[in-house]
């Protein structure tokens, strides 16, 4: 007998040393030979890393709306300001062409009209821009006065629009800066009251009012049938039931937000004034500003139109790159957590049915059969259409339907394992049912479960994206692959980048996942190689 720590070395009948390998090791060996599967694994790992570390990349916030940057096209070389100017010029050249000031020849006129008739506006714009710029350089075309003032306006905007982000607020106490977040509500409220020259009591009542309003809104959003009076009454009760700590955190967040807004406004003024005095100021810069009311702030000043959008922007001027990265996080996250949940439910039901057998098995499996006959996605669509469309609900709806196959699979596996000698041995030595299931049966069927779930993840992601595509899944400002694609479909002729990049991101991931799943299945079960 070998003790557990010793290596598993045995000799065969020719006295050669035979090293025992586990199933997993063998499978890994086979998987390594499958180049596509390894490539898929690498891609999946890269996606996972990007999704996990999304916060560490210098991305613009995925929900930050910059209306002036609406629908800017992807560009590596140009800043958003340059793109805005280009858009304006395209507009002006188009008007000039329509008014007959920009002459491109009869043949080209026909071509442009043909483009317009065929919805190819993008081509018209880029062609007119090119032609107009060439003519202007040659001196054949000149801007009108109103054109010039329009261009100047945009240029002025690009030069002067600045944004301020607050990275931290501090109060100077005895020559030491303490972060405002570390103070309690009382101290913060004092600061804000002194900032505005308000009475503390007035501030307290207004904060209380706002908190109650927030509660009313919350109640109303949960139950759309409730009347305003009922909601207000309910909010009163909820508010009275607030614990000291609840009140403290909520009130503090409220006042902190107010201070931040105020400071941001003031800081923006200072930054703008600085820029006027010193137009050659380089951006972005960070600064520690001392403010008049005994507090100071770490600010980051950036030029609004100095941004670069490598994958373009959407209809609210949000950065597509950032939205895709954060959307990947949502999609992959739901896929992963959903699959894990469905595996857990499936293992529980399947192992109970398989091991206990008899009546339990019969009823559980009839239940599974009936569930199988249901048109799941339709029920999920109803649920998502009717109840609150939160990520949690989406996740629950999907997890509820996806454990069925795993339950059947585990049941089959366990039924075949049940009569193996080692299980009988364990039972005869007095092991309990729970112990046999958790120590012997589940570990032994784990490999097929893992393989199957790898195959399931893309399916799960597709279902989530399917719902989000219909507008029933992830809701704005959050994004997922499906919702990004769904948003893009209606305007894809004008803004194709909104459709192409999210689709590409999703398809590459699903490809990688499918190859990995196939590879894993072949590795764990080489005989299945030619089956679907």
């Amino acid at each position: 007998m070998f003790s557990k720590k010793k290596k598993n070395v045995t000799t065969n009948e020719f006295n050669q040393i035979v090293e025992g390998t586990s199933l997993t090791k063998e499978a890994w060996k086979r998987l390594k030979k499958n180049k596509m599967a390894i490539l898929g694994l690498i891609v999946v790992i890269i996606y996972a890393l990007i999704a996990i570390c999304a916060d560490m990349f210098p991305l613009y916030p995925y929900d930050e709306v910059v209306t002036e940057h609406q629908h800017l096209k992807p560009s590596f070389s140009k800043t958003s300001g340059e793109l805005m100017l280009e858009k304006k010029m395209q507009d002006l050249y188009y008007n000039a062409w329509k008014q007959g000031r920009l002459v491109v020849g009869e043949e080209n006129d026909a071509m442009i009209k043909n483009w317009i008739a065929n919805d190819k506006t993008n081509k018209v714009w880029s062609y007119l821009l090119e032609a107009g710029e060439a003519q202007r350089a040659a001196g054949a075309f000149e801007w009108s006065k109103s054109d010039l003032s329009a261009i100047e306006k945009v240029e002025d905007k690009i030069q002067n629009d600045v944004m301020v982000t607050i990275n931290g607020l501090y109060k100077n106490v005895n020559g030491k800066n303490t972060n405002l977040k570390k103070l309690n509500y009382n101290e913060i409220a004092d600061i804000y009251a002194s900032m505005l020259g308000l009475d503390r009591a007035v501030l307290d009542t207004s904060v209380e009012k706002e908190l109650k309003m927030a509660l009313v809104n919350e109640i109303k959003s949960k139950d759309s049938e409730i009347s305003t009076e009922d909601a207000t009454a309910q909010a009163e009760i909820d508010f009275a039931n607030f614990s000291e700590k609840d009140f403290e955190t909520k009130a503090k967040a409220n006042v902190y937000g107010k201070i931040e807004t105020q400071v941001k406004r003031d800081a923006l003024k200072t930054v703008k004034a600085n820029l006027k005095e010193n137009p050659s100021q380089t951006f972005p810069y960070e600064e520690h500003q001392e403010l008049s009311y005994g507090i100071s702030a770490d600010i980051l000043a950036t030029k609004t139109h100095d941004r670069r959008y490598y994958l373009g922007t959407d209809y609210l001027g949000r950065d597509m790159l950032s939205r895709i990265v954060y959307g990947s996080r949502v999609s992959i996250g739901i896929g992963l957590v959903g699959t894990i949940t469905s595996i857990l439910i499936g293992i529980l039901v399947g192992s109970l049915a398989g091991y206990i057998g008899g009546r339990v098995d019969y009823y559980l499996m009839r239940f599974v059969d009936v569930m199988y006959g249901l048109p799941y996605m339709l029920l999920v669509i109803i649920m998502m259409a009717i109840f609150d469309r939160s990520i949690i609900n989406l996740f629950i709806a999907l997890a509820l339907i996806s454990w069925l196959t795993i339950a059947r699979m585990v049941r089959g596996q366990i039924m075949s394992l049940k009569n193996q000698e080692y299980v009988e041995a364990a039972r005869s030595m007095g092991a309990s049912t729970a112990r046999i299931i958790t120590r012997h049966m589940i570990p032994n069927s784990l490999s097929i479960i893992i393989v199957y779930s790898t195959i399931r993840i893309p399916n799960f992601i597709m279902q989530e994206s399917f719902l989000s595509f219909l507008g029933l899944g992830v809701q704005a400002p959050y994004a997922s692959w499906g919702s990004l694609i769904g948003d893009a479909v209606s305007s894809m002729t004008l803004y194709p980048w909104k459709l192409i990049y999210p689709s590409l991101t999703m398809v590459i991931f699903l490809f990688a996942m499918n190859f990995l799943g196939d590879g894993l299945r072949d590795a764990f079960d080489p005989q299945s190689k030619n089956q679907l």
Binding site: L374, P375, L378, I381, A385, P458, L470, L499, V507, L510
Partner: protein
């Protein structure tokens, strides 16, 4: 055999009952009603409307009334489309959806099976690699990406096919059906082709095929008379889930290509909380699905003599 069929027919009833019950109650329990417009109605009018649609009765009574109506084939009035009842709404849109679904299924089966068989016969040649690469693509690209992309390429850039519409509406040509059908069938083509190829490979290796070869039969006879029958079994059993998938898939396709089918109604009525329409559509879809599953099982048992029916 007839006993088996009757047994299966009776077995369909509980599934349908569960579906009707579940969707009826999910919809009623949910917050918000069909008459919650932007404008609040006066209390009296609201009560009158509710009385008209029997919504003032206890839930159980409503349920009983509804079940009875459904049994008679009456799905009730639509809450949102005031002049129509659910039956006529469904009756007008269902043919479009059925034809779309059937065409997609037929395309998937014809291309999937023929290309799958060729791939199996010409293993490791171009005729194997290209259809299988296409199938791998079909597995990884979701329907709502295929649809818009095909629309973008063929309808908007190349301008060889219409962007949207549906040929059964009268004015447009049959060409409107091409893109919806192709995008809906793509994923199922992928599955069918892969299944056919693998099951064909396995069948060709079995003993009875070797016997047939040894007896000097023609290659084509072996394939079409002997191997096909055995190789088709997994595909027949795949048809059940495929029908379910095509039904949900048609919802997306009808949205993208503006096909006036049932799927579009379904999403709209879910947003509108048009209770009777939602439940009606779900009942119709589920009935189709259950019947399809039943037919698939019958075909399967006809094809495979090893199965005994009890």
């Amino acid at each position: 055999m007839s006993k088996y069929i009757i047994k299966r027919l009776i077995g369909m009833i509980p599934t349908l009952l569960v579906i009707v019950t579940l969707s009826f109650f999910i919809v009623r329990i949910a917050p918000g009603g069909p008459f919650d417009g932007e404008r609040a109605l006066p209390e009296v009018i609201k009560r009158n409307i509710e009385a008209k649609y029997h919504m003032d009765e206890p839930l159980i009574q409503q349920y009983g009334r509804y079940l009875f109506d459904v049994l008679r084939g009456d799905l009730g009035p639509s809450y949102k489309y005031k002049d129509h009842d659910v039956n006529s709404l469904i009756f007008n849109s269902l043919p479009n959806s059925i034809i779309l679904g059937c065409m997609a299924m037929a395309v998937a089966l014809v291309f999937g099976i023929s290309l799958g068989i060729t791939a199996a016969l010409k293993q490791n040649t171009v005729l194997d690699y290209v259809p299988m690469a296409l199938a791998a693509l079909g597995l990884s690209i979701p329907l709502f990406v295929v649809g818009p992309l095909l629309q973008y390429i063929f309808a908007m850039q190349l301008k060889i096919l219409p962007t949207s519409g549906w040929f059964m509406d009268g004015e447009t040509t049959f060409a409107t059906a091409v893109l919806p059908v192709v995008s809906l069938s793509f994923a199922y083509y992928a599955d069918v082709a892969r299944l056919t190829r693998s099951s064909m490979l396995e069948t060709l290796r079995s003993d009875y095929i070797r016997t047939a070869k040894a007896k000097g039969m023609k290659q084509s006879t072996i394939i079409f008379k002997h191997a096909m029958k055995g190789a088709m079994l997994p595909i027949v059993s795949y048809l059940g889930p495929a029908f379910a998938g095509i039904i949900t898939g048609s919802i997306v396709v009808e949205q993208v290509f503006r096909v006036p089918g049932l799927g579009k109604f379904f999403v709209q009525s879910s947003f509108n909380r048009d209770y009777t329409l939602i439940v009606g559509v779900v009942i119709v879809y589920s009935t189709i699905l259950v019947i399809m599953n039943f037919l698939v099982d019958i075909v399967y048992s006809l094809l495979d003599p090893r199965i005994t029916y009890k």
